[in-house]
C-alpha cells in the first residue's frame, strides 16, 4: 500500500524500519505458515519412512532377526528328517513319498518347514511392532507426534505398514536362505511367489495391527514382552507352521482352524510347493485362505485405527 515499503527480505532484525515503513507494519516475524498438505497420507508416509530408515540403517538388527529362522531351518529342519524316519521302518521309496505327500503335502519336510518359517519371521516382526510404540511413548516421540495435527490413525497405520514392509523383506531373505539350504524350488512360479507373499503381507499387517493396538496404552516394555511371549508361541505352535494339522489331536485341530496364521501358511504352501499329487483334504481351497486372511487384516486394522482415536488421547 505504501510505495516506500521495504522489501520483505530487508526487514531483518537489525534494520531500523521505523523511518521508512509506516508504524502499522509489524516488527519482523518469521515467515507465515505455508499452505499445508492436509492429506493423512503425508503424515503416514513420514512416520513410516522414519521407522524404515532406522531399520535399514542398522544392518545388525536385520542380521539378528535372521538368526532365529536360520537356526530353525538349519538345525531343527535338517535334524527332523522324516524321510529317513520312514525309510528306516522298511518302506520302499514310493511308499515313503506317498506317506510324506499325504502328511505334509510335499516330499520334503524341510520345504514344508521353510514355508512355516516365512510365517514365523513375519509373526515375530509383527509382535515387535508393538514394542516400537512402547519405545516411542517411553522416549516422548509419541507425545511429540500427538501434539501435531497428524491423524491419530496414521500413527497406528505407520507402525503396521513399516512392520509389513520389513517382514516382507525379511521373509524374502528367509526364502533365499531356505532355497540355499535345499528347499524344493521345482514348483516356484512368479504368480505363486506373488500370491504367497501377498498372503504373508496381509497376515503381517493383521498381526501388527493386533500388537500395535495392544501396545497403544502401554509405556512398559516388560508387559509388552510378556504379551509377545504369551501370544507368539501359541500362535506359532497352534498352527500348521511346524507340523501338519492331520497328526494333531482333535482338540488342537480346532484351535489351528481358528488361528489365522494357519490360513496364510496353508495358502503359501500351495502356491510355493504346488499341489501335484497331493491328496485332497490336505489343503483348504485357495479362495478360503485369501478370504480369511484379507478379512482378518481389514478387521484388525480397523480395530487398531478406531482404538487409536480412543486410546491415544487420555
Amino acid at each position: 500500500m505504501d510505495s516506500s515499503k521495504v522489501p520483505e527480505e530487508k526487514l531483518t532484525r537489525t534494520t531500523t524500519v521505523q523511518e521508512t515503513v509506516p508504524e502499522s507494519v509489524e516488527p519482523p516475524v518469521p515467515r507465515s505458515m505455508p499452505k499445508l498438505n492436509k492429506s493423512p497420507l503425508h503424515g503416514l508416509w513420514a512416520l513410516t519412512l522414519r521407522d524404515l530408515r532406522k531399520w535399514y540403517t542398522n544392518p545388525y538388527q536385520l542380521l539378528i532377526s535372521l538368526i532365529q529362522p536360520v537356526v530353525w531351518l538349519g538345525i531343527f529342519g535338517k535334524a527332523l528328517n522324516f524321510g529317513t524316519f520312514i525309510s528306516q521302518s522298511g518302506a520302499s521309496p514310493a511308499v515313503q513319498n506317498q506317506i510324506l505327500l499325504s502328511t505334509f503335502g510335499t516330499k520334503s519336510y524341510f520345504s514344508f518347514l521353510s514355508v512355516g518359517m516365512l510365517a514365523s519371521i513375519i509373526l515375530f516382526t509383527a509382535a515387535f511392532s508393538g514394542m516400537s510404540v512402547v519405545f516411542d511413548r517411553r522416549f516422548g516421540f509419541l507425545n511429540k507426534a500427538l501434539s501435531t495435527p497428524v491423524s491419530r490413525g496414521a500413527i497406528v497405520v505407520s507402525k503396521v505398514l513399516q512392520s509389513g514392509v520389513r517382514s516382507l523383506i525379511q521373509a524374502g531373505m528367509v526364502l533365499l536362505i531356505a532355497v540355499v539350504l535345499g528347499m524344493d524350488v521345482s514348483n516356484f512360479s512368479v504368480i505363486g511367489l506373488l500370491g504367497a507373499f501377498t498372503l504373508l503381507f496381509f497376515m503381517g499387517f493383521a498381526l501388527s495391527s493386533l500388537f500395535v493396538t495392544l501396545a497403544l496404552r502401554s509405556s512398559d516394555w516388560q508387559t509388552q514382552m510378556a504379551i509377545i511371549n504369551l501370544l507368539n508361541l501359541p500362535l506359532l505352535f497352534a498352527s500348521n507352521a511346524l507340523f501338519p494339522v492331520k497328526i494333531m489331536p482333535t482338540w488342537l485341530q480346532y484351535v489351528v482352524k481358528f488361528n489365522p496364521v494357519s490360513y496364510a501358511i496353508d495358502g503359501a504352501r500351495q502356491l510355493l510347493l504346488g499341489t501335484a499329487g497331493v491328496p485332497s483334504g490336505i489343503y483348504n481351497p485357495l479362495w478360503l485362505d485369501f478370504t480369511v486372511i484379507t478379512a482378518f487384516a481389514v478387521a484388525l486394522t480397523a480395530v487398531g485405527v478406531v482404538m487409536s482415536w480412543k486410546l491415544l488421547t487420555k
Binding site: M33, A46, R50, F139, G140, S147, T148, V150, T313
Partner: protein, 344 residues
C-alpha cells in the same frame, strides 16, 4: 472472536482462555481442579508450583494431549476439545522430555516434525536451517542426536517446537536438569522469542528464580488449584514489604516502640541486640531508622536490607517451600530420564 473484551485494551487480547478446567483420574484424584486464567497475547506466562502440582497436566490439556474432564479451554481462538487439530496447528510445544529421535540427525528430526504438520519440504528445509541457526545448532545439524549434549537437545526441542510458526509456544520445564550456562542460553532464547518474534509463551517451572526473571505474570499452582496470579512484583509485594535487620551496640534499651512509629515501618521485632523490621520501602526506611537510633545516642553496628524473593512469597502463599512432591511412578521416572539425559 471476543468483541466484549476488545474495548478495554485494544492492543492485547487473550490468546488463552481457561475456565474451570479440571482433570480427574480414576474418578477420584483431581490432578487439576477448576483452574481459570487468561493469557494475553505477547506475554510470558508462567506456571509455578512443585512437582505434581498439576502444571504438566494443564499444559497437556491445553495442547490437546489430554482431554479435560470438565471445564473449557480456548487456545488461539479454538476450543481444545472440539477443534483439537486447529489448536495443534497454531501452537508450538517444547515438552519436558527429550522427544527427538536419537537415531536421526537434528535436521531430520525437525523435518519430520514439519512433515507431521503437513508443511511441504520446499518450506520446511530452509525454515529448519533458519531455526537451527537461531538455536546455534547449525554445525550439529547433520549429526545424530545421540551425540548431542543435554543442552543441545533442549535447543533442538525448541527448534522443533517453532517449525510450525506458532503464535503461542508452550514450554514444560524448559530448563529442567540443565547446567547454568545452558539455562542462561534457554532464557536468552525465550526473551528473544517474546521481544523479536512477538510470540506468546507459556512456561511451567519449579525454579523460582526462573519464573521471577522471565515471566510477565505468574500463576502459583498447588494441588491442582491456582493460589494466586500476578506479576512477580505483585506477588512479592503481597508478602508485606522488605526486611531490614539492624544491629545496635547496646541491647538494654528497647527502641521498638519508637521505630514502630515511623511511617514506613510495619512491624518490629527485637531479638537481643538485633531488630528485625518489616518496612514498605526498605531503601527509604533504613536511613530513617539509623537516624532514629543515633538520635537516641546508640551505635548501629550493622544493617542489612532484604527484598522479598519469590521464594518467600511462595512460602507465604502455600505455607511450604518448593520441594520434591510425591507424584506417580511414571511421572517421576520420566522426569528422572529427562534429567539424566540433560546431564549427558
Amino acid at each position: 472472536m471476543m468483541p466484549n473484551q476488545r474495548d478495554t485494551k485494544p492492543v492485547s487480547k487473550a490468546i488463552v482462555e481457561v475456565e474451570g478446567l479440571t482433570k480427574t483420574y480414576d474418578g477420584k484424584f483431581k490432578a487439576v481442579d477448576g483452574v481459570s486464567f487468561q493469557i494475553e497475547e505477547g506475554e510470558i506466562f508462567g506456571f509455578l508450583g512443585p512437582n505434581g502440582a498439576g502444571k504438566s497436566t494443564t499444559i497437556n490439556m491445553l495442547t490437546t494431549l489430554l482431554s479435560p474432564s470438565s471445564g473449557q479451554a480456548v487456545v488461539c481462538g479454538f476450543d481444545v476439545h472440539k477443534h483439537a487439530n486447529d489448536v495443534r496447528r497454531n501452537v508450538g510445544i517444547v515438552p519436558q522430555e527429550y522427544t527427538a529421535d536419537e537415531d536421526m540427525t537434528g535436521m531430520a528430526n525437525i523435518l519430520l516434525c514439519a512433515d507431521l504438520y503437513g508443511i511441504p519440504r520446499s518450506d520446511s528445509k530452509p525454515h529448519a536451517m533458519e531455526l537451527l541457526n537461531l538455536v546455534e545448532l547449525q554445525d550439529a545439524a547433520n549429526r545424530k542426536v545421540k551425540t548431542y549434549s543435554g543442552g543441545m537437545r533442549r535447543r533442538l526441542e525448541l527448534a522443533c517446537g517453532l517449525i510450525n510458526y506458532p503464535k503461542l509456544l508452550f514450554m514444560d520445564e524448559p530448563t529442567l536438569g540443565l547446567d547454568v550456562q545452558t539455562r542462561a542460553a534457554v532464557w536468552k532464547y525465550i526473551r528473544m522469542l517474546k521481544q523479536e518474534y512477538h510470540m506468546t509463551l507459556f512456561l511451567t517451572t519449579h525454579y523460582l528464580e526462573e519464573a521471577d526473571s522471565l515471566c510477565d505474570r505468574i500463576a502459583i499452582i498447588d494441588h491442582g488449584h491456582i493460589i494466586k496470579i500476578g506479576t512477580p512484583t505483585e506477588l512479592k509485594d503481597g508478602i508485606g514489604g522488605d526486611v531490614i535487620v539492624v544491629g545496635v551496640a547496646d541491647g538494654e534499651v528497647d527502641l521498638s516502640p519508637d521505630i514502630g512509629k515511623l511511617e514506613l515501618v510495619k512491624e518490629v521485632k527485637k531479638n537481643g541486640n538485633e531488630y528485625r523490621i518489616k518496612a514498605e520501602s526498605g531503601e527509604e526506611a533504613s536511613p530513617q531508622i539509623m537516624d532514629l537510633i543515633r538520635s537516641k545516642g546508640l551505635h548501629v553496628t550493622k544493617i542489612s536490607l532484604t527484598k522479598p524473593s519469590l521464594d518467600e512469597a511462595y512460602l507465604e502463599l502455600t505455607g511450604r517451600t518448593l520441594r520434591e512432591e510425591e507424584t506417580n511412578r511414571w511421572a517421576t521416572m520420566s522426569q528422572r530420564i529427562t534429567m539424566a539425559r540433560a546431564r549427558s
